[in-house]
């Protein structure tokens, strides 16, 4: 089931919230969560459910064994081999299109569990808790990848008597309100913003040869924005839904495009994946403890594996390595004496000079990330190259009619009509320009949705905003695309 669907919004979510409140009172909250999570997972494609259940049974069996044996390492190796082999088979072998939903995400969730079990950080985790840890529906399909230390205490926590008795507390309503708001912002980000850019991206990539330089820049930029609003919108919804249930999920995006260098970018983009790789790949490889050269190599390995995890084409490796190489170069620079000197000098700066330096950093990082995303999206290396070549060739002309048309949402037709702009020769491009400007301003200057909802004071204005967000999004649901990250 998708969050952005009628059945989730009108049926699943209200029933789960109500059911959970009841089950919390009667002490069967975890059973309830496990059940509804499996329903959520199997809703559209029940055929993937047995694969998930088998994978969970094997992993929990291994954990169980691990708790009872001295040879923990052997079991860990068996577990890692099993999980990675299964993931590899589903993703890289052609099984007639059979790729279980969210296989990458639940595989990593379970690897994290085995690693923590091996390290002795988990004690006596019951099968039910394990089941909820893996399948908990708000994060099951696309993350955030909640590591055991983040989610297990939340799942296993005992409710106080007051909490058990339902929504008696002012803080309970505040929690519901803020998380509902977060869910609505995420829904809007996905359905209205990401999917609008998504149409432009699909239109552009289906007609690469007919595009000029400006078109290609718009297509590249559109994908950068689509991916961010799609994925972060999904995570906002996940956090919102989970928050309404009283379980906090880790933050996955912290305004990544505001980053002034690539290191900062990765502190804000898909944070839980980076945390996973840091804990279970980078640090076991030696992290930064074995000298600079080894550190840089470890970073490159992490980005290589990340590229591999994201997709099956060579272009994903190119994307991973583009980030890896710049990351290492930036680290090298910051580790050097010039870098340190510059850093010290920057600290002493203030006012417009500092702002200008920061602005240039943000612009260059954003530009680089944009180019890297081209490899992430293009169907092949050739097409990625063709798009980037067209940008550098300075091929002129007006923006492609169909491409601009993707931004002309029906609701804006009325505004243009009322303002009598429809006969203006550039009328077709108004929406595109305005949407791009507003969304870029949001990206660079707007507050992160998660931070924003924390500051909201309940009142008429916000109630109206929430209503508009929900109604506009729900009315736009039919015909919306599926999530980009579902296949990763």
């Amino acid at each position: 089931m998708l969050f952005n669907s009628y059945e989730f919004i009108f049926l699943f979510l209200p029933l789960v919230l109500a059911g959970y409140a009841v089950c919390r009172k009667s002490g069967c909250a975890r059973v309830f969560l496990l059940l509804v999570s499996l329903i959520f997972y199997g809703w559209n494609s029940p055929r993937y459910l047995p694969v998930l259940l088998c994978s969970m049974a094997v992993n929990y069996g291994l954990y169980w064994q691990m708790e009872r044996t001295e040879n923990k390492k052997g079991i860990l190796i068996a577990g890692l081999s099993f999980n990675l082999a299964a993931l590899g088979c589903f993703k890289y072998l052609d099984l007639g299109g059979f790729v279980p939903l969210a296989v990458s995400f639940y595989t990593f969730t379970q690897i994290a569990f085995l690693m923590e079990g091996y390290r002795g950080n988990l004690k006596n985790v019951k099968a039910l808790d394990y089941g909820v840890y893996v399948t908990y529906f708000p994060k099951l399909i696309q993350g955030p990848i909640a590591l055991p230390d983040a989610i297990l205490p939340e799942v296993r926590k005992e409710w106080s008597k007051a909490e058990k008795s339902g929504l008696r507390d002012r803080t309970d309503w505040e929690r519901i309100y803020r998380n509902l708001y977060l869910f609505l912002l995420g829904l809007f980000k996905k359905v209205l913003i990401a999917d609008t850019f998504g149409q432009a991206v699909t239109s552009g990539y289906s007609n690469l040869s007919g595009l000029n330089s400006l078109d290609c820049i718009i297509v590249m930029l559109s994908y950068t924005l689509q991916l961010y609003f799609d994925f972060s919108g999904y995570c906002d919804m996940a956090m919102g839904v989970s928050g309404m249930l009283g379980i906090e999920l880790p933050l996955n995006f912290r305004s990544p495009y505001k980053a002034a260098n690539i290191l900062e970018f990765w502190k804000g983009w898909h944070i839980t994946l980076t945390r996973f790789f840091t804990k279970y790949l980078y640090i076991p490889l030696g992290g930064s403890r074995k000298g600079r050269g080894r550190t840089y190599l470890n970073i490159l390995i992490v980005f290589f594996v990340s590229g591999l995890w994201h997709g099956t084409g060579v272009q994903f490796l190119v994307w991973g390595m583009m980030h890896g190489v710049l990351y290492v170069l930036t680290r090298m620079f910051l580790d050097s004496k010039w870098g340190r000197a510059l850093y010290e000098r920057r600290k002493g700066l203030s006012g417009p000079v500092k702002a200008l330096g920061h602005g240039i950093g943000v612009f260059l990082t954003f530009l680089y990330v944009n180019v890297a995303w081209v490899f992430f999206r293009a169907p092949s290396l050739g097409e990625a190259g063709s798009l980037l070549r067209t940008i550098t060739e300075h091929r002129g002309g007006r923006v492609n009619w169909d491409l601009a048309g993707c931004f002309n949402l029906d609701e804006f037709w009325y505004v243009i009509k009322v303002l009598h702009l429809d006969s203006w020769q550039y009328a077709h491009y108004i929406c595109m320009v305005l949407i791009l400007i507003v969304v870029l301003l949001l990206v660079f200057f707007g507050k992160n949705a998660v931070d924003y909802v924390k500051t909201v004071k309940p009142g008429v204005v916000h109630t109206l905003i929430m209503t508009v967000l929900l109604v506009w999004s729900v009315l736009s649901l039919t015909g919306v695309s599926t999530f980009l990250y579902v296949n990763f």
């Binding site: 009628y6 009108f10 929504l167 008696r168 002012r170 309503w173 505040e174 519901i176 309100y177 509902l180 029906d410 609701e411 037709w413 009325y414 009509k417 309940p458 009142g459 008429v460 916000h462 109630t463 109206l464 929430m466 209503t467 929900l470 109604v471 506009w472 729900v474 009315l475 736009s476 649901l477 039919t478 015909g479």
Partner: protein, 373 residues
């Protein structure tokens, strides 16, 4: 318990601004959804719940979404079905020539399954109940589409408008496109569709020219091995048995007028370059013979009309003819010209039509036609 007492002793929860905000939001959102749904159900631009409102300037331009509702809730006694080959029929001609109250329910590129989907709704509609029955179904047959899968539709259909499940109607009643483009836009900018000429093609007169057709025509890749003449028959047989014949059989009072439209001679050039002339001709023969077996079927054959098909000025592309030939075909339906004789009946047989078609296809001078290309 008096009111003042109660007010004083209200629990602190009632004053909780967050609770009030959540409740306010839920009420507002519910009200908004109800208003939208009621408006869409009242106007019902896809005619899913009722017949059109008197005087509302309905916009009808979406075959997949609006045909099922029109079939279910409009009044008619005859139907025009088929692909884009049928969009330029005007239903007023059918009244003028045959006294029929016809409705046009074309689907661009329709596959047999598309015809079956809409025929199911037509024959279950009030127009075929309570003593009423559909008088005639005019069915345009594009042979190539009958060689595909039995369950295949040309485009994914919006199931929620085709089934009887009221729950999935939410996709219709809470749908921005429906609200903005089919309810509010017609009100703001009324241009009601003339149902007689609904779905008519956009080509204006100047597009019907040899130059335009040749400009857009590409000769297909040559195929060396000739297709087995019987190669299509099996799929065609399955398609007829599953999607067409059942409706003919259970509706003996309805006359099915089946016709093969006249594609331009370039269609036959393609057929020969792709090396499946005999297989195509066999397909025509099979469909004609199979359907002509029924007493309530009449078959018309137009592909060999030389004066139409050999002159590309009658076409906007290699298969789409000028609307005047829709008029011509309607006249033939009325007077019986171009009819295919049933077995034992006097008149031109399908074999004779096909022999003429083959001769025309084989002897036509394509080189001269394509010279200027």
């Amino acid at each position: 318990m008096n009111w003042k007492w109660r007010r004083k002793n209200r629990s602190p929860l009632c004053k909780n601004p967050f609770r009030k905000a959540v409740a306010g939001f839920l009420c507002l959102a519910a009200a908004a959804f109800v208003i939208v749904a009621v408006l869409i159900i009242y106007v019902d631009p896809f005619f899913h719940y009722h017949s059109p409102l008197e005087g509302f300037p309905y916009l009808v331009d979406n075959q997949l979404s609006q045909n099922p509702g029109m079939a279910e809730h409009m009044e008619y006694d005859s139907v025009i079905l088929g692909s884009s080959m049928t969009v330029n029929f005007q239903t007023t001609w059918f009244r003028e020539l045959m006294g029929l109250n016809a409705i046009k329910l074309s689907y661009s590129g329709a596959f047999p399954k598309d015809q079956s989907n809409i025929m199911k709704i037509i024959f279950d509609s009030p127009n075929n109940r309570d003593g009423k029955h559909i008088k005639k179904v005019f069915l345009g047959v594009d042979v190539i589409t009958y060689t595909g899968g039995v369950e295949e539709t040309k485009y994914p259909i919006p199931e929620y408008l085709y089934d009887d499940n009221p729950v999935n109607d939410i996709r219709y009643v809470l749908n921005k496109d429906v609200l903005l483009n089919y309810v509010l836009r017609p009100l703001a900018d009324p241009e009601p569709t003339d149902l007689s000429n609904v779905y008519a093609s956009w080509w204006t007169e100047e597009y019907y020219s040899k130059e335009w057709v040749l400009h857009n025509y590409t000769v297909p890749v040559k195929v060396q091995d000739e297709a087995d003449p019987a190669s299509y028959v099996e799929a065609v047989e399955r398609n007829l048995a599953a999607n067409i014949c059942p409706y003919i059989e259970v509706n003996p009072e309805t006359e099915f007028v089946v016709f093969f439209p006249p594609y331009s001679i370039l269609f036959w050039n393609d057929v020969q370059v792709e090396n499946h002339l005999e297989a195509t001709i066999e397909t025509y023969r099979y469909i004609s013979d199979r359907l002509n077996e029924y007493d309530n079927v009449t078959v018309f054959f137009f592909p060999d009309q030389e004066e139409i098909v050999c002159d590309l000025n009658n076409y906007a592309d290699y298969s789409h003819y000028h609307p005047r030939y829709n008029r011509y075909m309607a006249e033939c339906f009325a007077d019986g010209s171009c009819k295919v004789a049933k077995k034992g009946e006097a008149g031109k047989t399908i074999d004779q039509y096909l022999e003429h078609m083959r001769t025309l296809a084989v002897t036509f001078d394509y080189e001269e036609l394509l010279e200027g290309k």
